[in-house]
């Protein structure tokens, strides 16, 4: 529908009372796109030191019904996951992201945990994924898609467990964008996740677990036990 394209662009230019941008103006705008500038950043997270930022992240996450368990090191993750599953009466079957970072976790120390690596399938109850980053400002996780981190893990299972390192907690979304650009090209999907799925569509009464996970649990590996 190239006619539509020309008509629409022509219509816009006519309404703006000009032709296509002259090369110099277009060049300036393109340079601006190539070097994105941050707008106003709320002070909420920028004024904090590392510990304060992590505390803010945890507080904001818990406010929207994310549960957070702080453990000292990766070696503590299997026990923390097993304890969480038992406390929620969940089966000890996990589908985990085929990510080397998660493979470094000594899952074998908990032989009762059954693991499958890959994307989520219907019937999977609990997933475990890494995160790309977390945003302290609103208690938000930032997850990216890739061969090692399929997106279905974030949405299909009833329970989503995220293993997060404390040094991944960033003050704001803008720092997330900067780190993502530094890593390489945009992945197919970037998910900002702030709490478990919810709806207020019936009489504005909030219900968790509308279509995505009913539970969102973070195991925060930060060298301190909480």
């Amino acid at each position: 529908m190239s006619d539509g394209r020309n008509d629409i662009l022509g219509g816009i230019r006519k309404a703006l009372k000009r032709g296509p941008l002259d090369p110099a103006a277009a060049h300036a705008l393109r340079a601006r796109l190539g070097d994105p500038q941050r707008n106003l950043l709320p002070a909420r997270a920028t004024v904090l030191d590392d510990a304060g930022r992590i505390d803010l992240f945890v507080a904001m996450a818990e406010e929207v019904q994310t549960t957070v368990d702080r453990v000292a090191g990766l070696a503590d993750v299997p026990a923390a996951v097993a304890t969480y599953l038992a406390s929620e009466n969940l089966p000890a079957e996990l589908v985990i992201a085929p990510d080397p970072a998660l493979d470094a976790i000594p899952w074998g120390e908990r032989p009762l945990l059954r693991l499958r690596r890959g994307k989520a399938a219907p019937g999977d109850h609990v997933s475990v994924t890494p995160a790309f980053a977390a945003i302290a400002e609103t208690g938000t996780l930032m997850l990216t898609s890739g061969p090692e981190t399929p997106t279905t893990l974030n949405f299909l299972p009833d329970t989503h467990i995220v293993v997060l390192r404390a040094d991944q907690v960033l003050p704001h979304y803008e720092e997330g964008w900067s780190r993502l650009r530094a890593r390489g090209p945009m992945p197919r999907t970037v998910n900002f996740i702030t709490g478990p799925s919810r709806t207020g569509d019936i009489e504005q009464r909030i219900q968790l677990g509308a279509h995505g996970p009913r539970r969102l649990h973070i195991v925060l590996v930060d060298g301190k036990t909480g």
Binding site: L29, N39, T140, P150, F155, V190, E203, Q204, H211, G212
Partner: protein, 475 residues
Amino acid sequence: MDATSHAFKSNAREALANPTLQTALGMAKTGFPLKRLAAIERLPEFEALREEGKRIKNHTLAHLDFYLEEFERNVVELGGQVHWCRTPHEARETILAICRSVDAKTVTKGKSMIAEEIALNDFLEANAIAPIETDLGEYIIQLRHEPPSHIIAPAIHLLKEQVADAFRAAHTDLDPARNLEEPRTLTDEARQILRPKFLAADVGITGANFLIAETGSSIIVTNEGNGDLTQILPKIHIALASLEKVVPTLEDAATILRLLARSATGQEFSTYTTVSTGPRRPGDLDGPQQFHVVLLDNGRSAMLGTEFQDMLRCIRCSACINHCPVYAAVGGHAYGWVYPGPMGSVLTPQLIGMEEAGNLPNASTFCGRCESVCPMKIPLPKMMRHWREREYEAKLSPATYRQGLALWAFFVQRPELYHRLAEIGMRVLGFFGRGRGRFRALPLAGGWTAVRDMPVPQGRSFHSLWAERQRKAAR
């Protein structure tokens, strides 16, 4: 859908006399505004962010052709496609062709107001493709064969008992004696019914809250996760967006995202903000194999350079709707088309014509709350005033109204005469109304007094009292 905007008055009268609707609206009235207030009180920079959001959108609109071309270039670079559609007809045909390319039988849909605008569901059904709404509110109203009554809470006009009735009528495979008394059980049932439909769909259609020129991404914001299941499971993801959704960079989107959820539901951030860029990458284990952006104009480019350009900053948060006393009284269906409340009163005449919707801008008290809460600082009352002028100039308003206005204009341009006649009028009305306090009916003003009383003037006009006061003060 067939618009009934021309019948706003009778729609509104029916809505006011509908006790079920009034109960539902009563529950809705305070929820969103109070939550919004609490959220913005926690963010001292909110006011400054409004200015930034306005600046970003104004800049984008002034260079809209450039940013749309950049957006397209980046979508194509990653293997996606952009379809430029001038009209709802072109958008529908484009979507149908994409669906037919994979012999689609079912299509899951995330919430999209543009899909409502182009009446996509009816069209797909007529072409033997089953559209399945997956947002809980949209699913409910799809079962009830009715349009949304609110742009972010489509079923806000319903009580849970009505939802239960709709579910019993539609989900006939389930135990008829099951308990559906609470939102909890209703939500669980929708989850259970829709999950296999997500898995079976051939095409997923979502809207877009933003298009990012820098990266060729589309962004959706949801709370349920339905939009994500809609786009990651089927072979094809179609993002349906109007062209003013584009912003330059991810940073610009972040700034406006800080305004969006707070203004809409009072959340700090919506549960899911998802950035989708192209189809799945080599090695990815899931995600759509095709990514299409259907870009709709439908009269928007013609708003540029006019007194309605500012409306293109709208991010569809619904704050104006949630704070409108007229909407709170009559609900969304009375507006007779897709977009209700103040933003609808400005947008609808542009999109479906002044003949059909020219009287919607009259459904305002001009109390100004809409503009005061708008995160993009859109001067909604001013634009409704512009529509009223256009309606008057096009002679679409009733003859008696226009004649009355002409008569009033004659006097108001002659202040001496106006004051003298007003003074006489005050005295006459004061005389006849003495001891009564108010008139229940007045000759020549039956329409006005049919629904309200006219207070009896005290005998003197404000102007004469003020003049007397000034004289005394001068002494």
